[in-house]
Amino acid sequence: MRAFALVALLLVAGCGTAGTAGTAVDGRVTVFAAASLTGTFEQLGEEFEAANPGVDVVFNFGGSSGLAQQIAQGAPADVFASAAPANMAQVADAGGTAAEPVTFARNRLEIAVPAGNPAGITGLADFADADAKIALCAEQVPCGAAAKRAFEAAGVTARPDTVEQDVKAVLTKVRLGEVDAALVYRTDVRSAGGDVEGIEFPEADRTVNDYPIAPLAKARNAAGARAFVDFVRSDRGRAVLAEAGFEAP
């Protein structure tokens, strides 16, 4: 552990001097990002690598709360992109961010059903049906918190059969046809292609999530972290995000 810390320290020191010297970014940039950003960020990562030879972008996708926890425990991350301000605040409040987090995208929930909608789901009210198989995100993760707001607004008591730890796990259950309906992000419905159909619902306005991003204070590659954040917020970054179904902040 001590040796590891030493290596980390040397790397940070090395990057620090490189940063002040104003050289181009290189080396590895480790990005911790919400599961719902998987496809989009992978594409952005490839484009960022192409634009900056010598840069290697590595992703760790997962539930935002889990990622925030890992960062708090000292996981080696350079950038954190969260699906909700609350999880970013966990990191920022502990002095974990190198710059003020900024919102770079918004997302909203949609009802996801397997292709053909075998159970004939039409709206949130169907989530109270005990016979329908329902998957939701756990309330601790952003998509679960957003789902809770939607059900409150609709006055529906959802009866989930399973409560998953991140939105991709929920989506998988829909894709396999194991559940009749789930609440996932609109971007997830799009990423699933023909396997999954999306159904919009009026309460979705209450489910809009802000996605904040920030370079981290303990980044080993501080220059790379800043550059990646700038790239996500650039016109090209916004275009890729919009294509995936994200809304502009």
Binding site: G63, S65, G66, Q69, K133, A135, A138, Q140, V141, P160, D161, T162, V163, E164, Q165, K173, L176, G177, E178
Partner: protein, 268 residues
Amino acid sequence: MTPTRRRAGGRLPVALVLPAVVGLAFLLVPLVGLLVRAPWGTLPSRLLDASVGEALRLSLVCASLATVLCLVLGVPLAWLLARGDVPGRGVLRALVTVPLVLPPVVGGVALLFVLGRRGLVGQYLDAWFGVSLPFTTAGVVLAEAFVAMPFLVISVEGALRAADPRYEEAAATLGASRWLAFRRVTLPSILPGVVAGTVLCWARALGEFGATITFAGNFPGETTTMPLAVYLALETDPDAAIVLSVVLLLVSVGVLAALRDRWISGPS
């Protein structure tokens, strides 16, 4: 068969003792870390939390049911592998250990492909009997049994192969059917192997996580066993996760120690 009381050749060799001690420390130190970090001050109040009891009860019930299932299916399977004249026994034996090698999450997905609502078998279960296994307690038992059964089969098969088949042959010459010989001669002679396998199988089932969360999902009171509860808690409240882990550890070590004293009375 009487154990020799004389120790062979004086002092214990350092070449064996040193790695043994390192090995022991390697296994036990993480446990110590868990106990040191445990929030002992708030432990009693956290233990009284209803969800902890619920998850613990579910874990114990599911692991025990999975173990019964493994015994009912696994002992005959071990017998078949050790004694039966089946072609391709070596291949079968290797296939039985597949769940040991498979990442449990993959095992869970495989179970969904077969027993899920649209699975190879599951679609008929659903259409004909209205039975759907994913997201049910029965699903937890199946997932645990899938992952744990190889431990039982391997132990029992090893015991069977070490047992002398001549006793069975003697029983046969005295007119016993193979079924009677199995029950009255073979089974008693391999009982320690069966018990050891059962204990391993139960312990593996109790700690099962990946196949369970994939196949059975996560819903408190139905499918949230202790390992799932630990994982969920780890993301939001690490202290609660440590408490849950300590509880799971104490209960499992207690049960295993009690079983050992009762059944596996080796020379101590």
